[in-house]
């Protein structure tokens, strides 16, 4: 099962490598990973999407929490949550027809064209991973994907629930 795990940790050199190391050392999956400092810049928030049954997720949570640099950890998928991922994709457009088709698809998916050349568009799209996947599939039929880059998932719990130091 897909899980989104959020980690609040000291923003210190080495902290990230400890988490990554733990995942490979204990043979846990990492599907995506997204990390940046928060409002209090002495802390970083890291979001990992991973796969595993309840037992595996429980172990991941405990092992990550055991790392000295880690303050808090929570499994966002346990409750209702908001998740977003950002993608930039450069699409080649063979002719006017294809250019129009790409533009229309971008509009339908509420994306943005952020760079334009006569031969391609660079598109920005935000949403759930599923939406991004769907967009990639659709756009691949109308234009030619030259390159793409995704940030990985970041997320927060809905409502009052929050992860604070």
């Amino acid at each position: 099962m897909r899980r989104i795990i959020s980690v609040l940790m000291e923003n210190e050199p080495g902290a990230l490598s400890r988490i990554i190391g733990l995942f490979s050392q204990r043979a846990y999956n990492v599907d995506s990973l997204c990390v940046a400092p928060i409002d209090d810049s002495s802390l970083s928030r890291l979001t990992i999407t991973t796969q595993g049954d309840d037992k595996v997720i429980e172990q991941i949570t405990k092992q990550v929490n055991k790392l000295i640099d880690v303050l808090k950890i929570s499994d966002l998928t346990e409750g209702s949550h908001v998740e977003r991922e950002l993608m930039l994709v450069k699409v080649g457009t063979r002719n006017e027809n294809s250019r129009a088709e790409v533009k229309r698809t971008v509009e339908i998916f509420r994306g943005k064209i952020v760079d334009v050349t006569p031969k391609n568009y660079t598109i920005e799209l935000t949403g759930t991973s599923d939406k991004l996947d769907a967009f990639v599939q659709t756009i691949g039929q109308t234009g030619e994907i030259i390159e793409l880059s995704r940030t990985g998932v970041c997320g927060l719990s809905r409502g009052e629930k929050a992860m604070r130091p």
């Binding site: 080495g14 190391g21 929490n65």
Partner: protein, 590 residues
């Protein structure tokens, strides 16, 4: 909570506050003193020459010069196991640092508090593949509790204070402090501020158990008709032995110790069933398997204990007390987890327990004890003595006799280790010192040396094998330099016995590379190092030789004892079976 509030400890002089100025190297030594470190095991080299200079001509911290950095780590480890105090290692960058890796991993697997101070190339050269540069923080990452790469000299006291705090709190473990050469430069002085108290917002181990869980646990434990207490190294780490004994005696509970827990509950106590697990006793494994309630105290359901987890103790409600939440329900699902130190949680147990009627307890467990005694009466540790050869078991029994069961015994890894664990009933904690988790051959001798440094007047013996002893034999020189009268009891079977045993059992006796064809003359070798060697070849010589060995109180003695090469360690669990599926000898099964 504040971010590591570190108050300055200023010195007041004529109404003015002064902060002491010193070099980074001097800070290292001074911080060690302020932490309370008395002994450092180390080996010098380019990156740590400044620190070695600061160690010169001072008496606060005594340095013991080893012959190989791996041994320095094992010495610090043995020192820590025998005392509960953090062991300290000091090595240079590159090869000095990487040589400690096996020692760090050994300490990590057994949760031993240790701090390794490693030199590093100057900060400005990190990443350039400079001479003797290795990424020590990276190399050691999977086998440390935490690590620090110090960036500035003024950060040294705080890093060292934190390192010791982390190493010896919560579930203990090794911590690496990597010190780039420029941070310890003796030419530059900086203000020295040692933190009065270490506080970390991201690290707050749970010591006290959850009251609700404790009440639940007690209810199940007191109701149980077939209970057992399963005690591991965690009970020793927090010095909970007296409480374990009190609980067991009060409730008339049978007790088994893990390999790491030997001595946590007295080995000579009538309620003790012996060690459990792969080479555990029949009564311990049977009692576990048939129990309706298992109280696990600081033990981690290791695969060398459980055998096949699918068949593990099918009738038991499991209560697991452990300071590390990640150890709970890792391999075996437990019913009542209690996170906390065994010592504190047992204290809470007693607070919650109403008056116990001893006779009522006896009645309640009468049938259970009767069953246990029936299992015990099989005497699974009996062995044949008729071969005209010295039996390894006999050596351990003789060792027990000549040390009155009161020595510190370290061991290496192999058959001799299991014989020592089974045939020397440890009455006290911290007396049995072995590499349980990693199974590191070469651990025994340096560990014994570390114990001897901690307890200069104690009797310290290292039970070893002809294979293991050769993995750190160079330390005989260190023993001479510092006058360490360690007794080496080498069970010489001219073989990598444990490997050979598995080959006998699982590979049709094909002894692929498990024999030692050109052993040195250990007596001569020991003499060359300036010590005493004694060779023993006949059963009838054993006792006298052992007596001679322990009479030489101030000498290191190497006992090279020729033992029966064909002896196997029994009992032994049968692979993929339940806990109590065991071989009792080459032909019998449980």
């Amino acid at each position: 909570m504040p971010v590591c509030a570190i108050p300055i400890q200023p010195i007041k002089l004529m109404g003015v506050f002064l902060v002491e100025m010193m070099s980074g190297a001097a800070m290292v030594v001074r911080a060690l003193k302020d932490v309370g470190v008395k002994h450092v095991f180390g080996y010098p080299g380019g990156a740590v020459l400044d620190i070695y200079d600061a160690l010169y001509a001072q008496e606060d911290v005594q340095h013991i010069l080893v012959r190989h950095e791996q041994a320095a780590a094992h010495m610090a480890d043995g020192y820590a196991r025998a005392t509960g105090q953090t062991g300290t290692v000091l090595v240079t960058s590159g090869p000095g640092a990487t040589n400690t890796i096996t020692g760090i991993a050994t300490a990590y697997m057994d949760s031993i508090p240790m701090v390794v101070l490693s030199g590093q190339v100057p900060s400005m050269h990190i990443g350039e593949d400079a001479f003797q540069e290795t990424d020590m923080v990276g190399c050691s990452r999977p086998i440390v509790k935490h690590s620090f790469l110090v960036k500035r000299a003024i950060d040294i006291p705080e890093a060292i204070a934190k390192a010791y705090y982390i190493a010896n709190s919560g579930r203990p473990g090794p911590v690496v402090v990597d010190l780039p050469k420029d941070t310890v430069n003796v030419q530059e002085n900086h203000p020295y501020r040692f933190p009065e108290k270490v506080q970390m917002r991201s690290y707050n181990p749970t010591i006290k158990g959850h009251l609700g869980q404790i009440k639940k646990a007690l209810k199940v434990l007191l109701k149980a008709k077939r209970p057992i207490v399963y005690v591991g190294g965690g009970a020793i780490a927090c010095d909970a032995s007296p409480l374990v004994t009190e609980l067991a005696e009060k409730l008339k509970l049978p007790v088994t110790n893990t390999l790491m827990g030997l001595g946590a509950f007295p080995g000579d106590h009538p309620q003790f069933l012996g060690m459990l697990g792969m080479h555990g006793t029949v009564q311990a494994n049977k009692t576990m398997h048939n129990a309706d309630c298992i109280l696990a105290l600081g033990a981690r359901f290791d695969d060398r204990v459980t055998n096949n987890v699918q068949k593990f103790c099918p009738h038991a409600q499991i209560i697991h007390v452990d300071i590390d939440p990640a150890s709970i329900s890792k391999t075996i699902n437990v019913h009542i987890p209690v996170v906390g130190s065994v010592k504190t949680v047992l204290t809470q147990f007693f607070e919650q327990m109403h008056e116990i009627d001893e006779n009522e307890r006896k009645d309640q467990l009468h049938d259970w004890w009767e069953q246990i005694e029936a299992w015990r009466s099989r005497d699974c540790l009996a062995y044949a003595k008729d071969s005209g050869l010295i039996k390894p078991q006999q050596v351990i029994e003789s060792l027990y006799k000549h040390t009155q069961g009161d020595a510190f015994i370290t061991s290496d890894v192999g058959q001799h280790q299991m014989f020592a664990a089974l045939y020397y009933p440890f009455a006290k904690p911290r007396r049995w010192i072995n590499s349980g988790g990693l199974g590191t051959m070469g651990f025994g001798l340096p560990a014994a040396m570390g114990v001897q440094v901690a307890h200069p007047d104690a009797v310290v013996a290292c039970v070893t094998g002809d294979g293991s002893i050769q993995m750190n034999i160079q330390e005989l020189a260190t023993c001479l330099q510092y006058g360490m009268p360690v007794k080496i009891i080498s069970l010489n079977n001219r073989a990598l016995g444990m490997v050979r045993q598995w080959q006998d059992m699982n590979y049709k006796g094909r002894h692929s590379h498990s024999y030692m064809d050109s052993l040195p003359d250990f007596v001569k070798l020991t003499e060359a190092y300036g010590h005493v060697g004694i060779k023993v070849e006949k059963p009838e010589e054993l006792d006298d030789a052992m007596a001679r060995c322990f009479a030489l109180k101030d000498k290191l003695v190497f006992m090279d004892i020729a033992v029966d090469q064909n002896e196997h360690v029994y009992p032994m669990q049968i692979k993929y079976g339940a806990m109590d599926d065991m071989r009792l000898s080459k032909t019998e099964r449980s």
